[in-house]
């Protein structure tokens, strides 16, 4: 009498449900782990980019010429120090400065054909189209003969590396920034 009122789950259904859950849930857990690690890596990369921007701004606009050029040609530690920690991740960075020699900085400058300026009424150039000669070239060493050995242009390469708490520094988790800085003297 009670038999015909039973509605519910058979053993076969339960086994089938457990099998489906097993097949789906296990890979999903793996995926969750993968995305979780990926998110942490993305987070660390974003922080590394911000730190690199801060450091490059310092190298470009704040640090003095002498400080920047000391140790030029070899890798120098960045200002945050080794293993700088943010959110448990570790960051390290180094920059290398490559100074230009003033004798190799030969710039093209426009050359103007000399003529009597009084022939130009009210200062308006009488022959604007024909006022130029071929451009001349002049090095910064010629412009500043008294301080020809003073560096006025340098390339900067900054490399920032990062690692998660569980990882190590490697060649993949790193970024590089390049820039060129001029030293503008009031001379």
């Amino acid at each position: 009498m009670t038999d015909h009122k039973r509605k519910g789950i058979t053993l076969t259904e339960i086994m089938l449900a457990v099998a489906i859950l097993g097949f789906i849930i296990l890979p999903i857990f793996g995926l969750l782990n993968y995305t979780n690690r990926g998110t942490r890596e993305q987070d660390a990369e974003g922080i590394a980019a911000n730190l690199a921007k801060e450091e490059m701004n310092r190298l470009m606009f704040v640090i003095s010429r002498d400080n920047l050029l000391s140790g030029a040609g070899s890798a120098q530690a960045w200002s945050f120090g080794a293993d700088y920690e943010v959110k448990g991740n570790k960051f390290t960075g180094e920059y290398t400065v490559f100074p230009f020699n003033n004798t190799e900085l030969a710039f093209a400058i426009p050359a103007f054909k000399f003529h009597d300026p009084m022939g130009c009424n009210n200062g308006i150039e009488a022959n604007a189209a024909g006022a130029l000669e071929a451009p001349k070239t002049m090095t910064l060493a010629e412009v500043y003969p008294d301080s020809a050995d003073k560096c006025r242009l340098a390339d900067i390469r900054l490399v920032v590396r990062w690692r998660l708490p569980s990882g190590e520094y490697n060649d993949i988790s790193q970024l590089q920034l390049l820039a060129r800085r001029a030293f503008l003297d009031k001379e």
Partner: protein
């Protein structure tokens, strides 16, 4: 008995299947957001590099302007149609002549780039980043008769390009404009 078996309506399978579908939607969203976040990071880095490239071009141009201020002023005066040996006479209209020659200004900025002055370190791959000053023009000029000084406001336009060897992204370009004031004793 046969009739009872036919009436059994189990809930386990529909429940599990619904749950599985929800989990899969959730997992897909996670993967999608991870990809988006990765792309966003690369995009930020790309922008950063291109921006520093453009700043580098501005730096080179400022160096050249500080080394050759006379030539820059003369070129600016000629671009407005005035005689570089006389300058702009006080009270003159800007570009009144209408026959300006911008060639000298073009020559002035033509070598502020990584083509003429490549990266100093040979280890730096030149395809990673390059820059160039793309324009230099006078936006205002006047003579201060009291101080016998020609004052020119000029605009430097620079373009920085960065290429990342990750994420299959195209070359990122950033343009930067800086206005400078040049003076020359008349």
């Amino acid at each position: 008995m046969t009739r009872n078996k036919q009436n059994r309506t189990g809930l386990a399978l529909p429940l599990v299947l619904t749950f599985v579908v929800c989990i899969m939607v959730f997992a897909s969203a996670l993967v999608y957001f991870r990809k988006e976040s990765k792309q966003q990071n690369l995009s930020n880095l790309h922008f950063l590099q291109a921006n520093f490239m453009a700043q580098s071009a501005i730096q080179m141009m400022l160096l050249k302007l500080s080394a050759f201020p006379q030539e820059a002023c003369d070129a600016g005066v000629l671009s407005l149609g005035y005689c570089p040996f006389r300058g702009i006479i006080a009270g003159s209209n800007l570009n009144a002549a209408g026959t300006g020659n911008p060639q000298a200004l073009k020559e002035f900025f033509s070598d502020c780039n990584t083509t003429k002055f490549p990266w100093k370190a040979t280890s730096i791959d030149s395809s990673t980043g390059k820059f160039a000053v793309t324009d230099f023009k006078v936006i205002s000029a006047f003579t201060n008769p009291g101080e016998r000084q020609l004052v020119i406001s000029a605009q430097i336009k620079a373009l920085g390009e960065a290429t990342l060897n990750r994420g299959k992204m195209e070359t990122r370009k950033e343009e930067m404009i800086k206005t400078v004031k040049l003076t020359r004793e008349n």
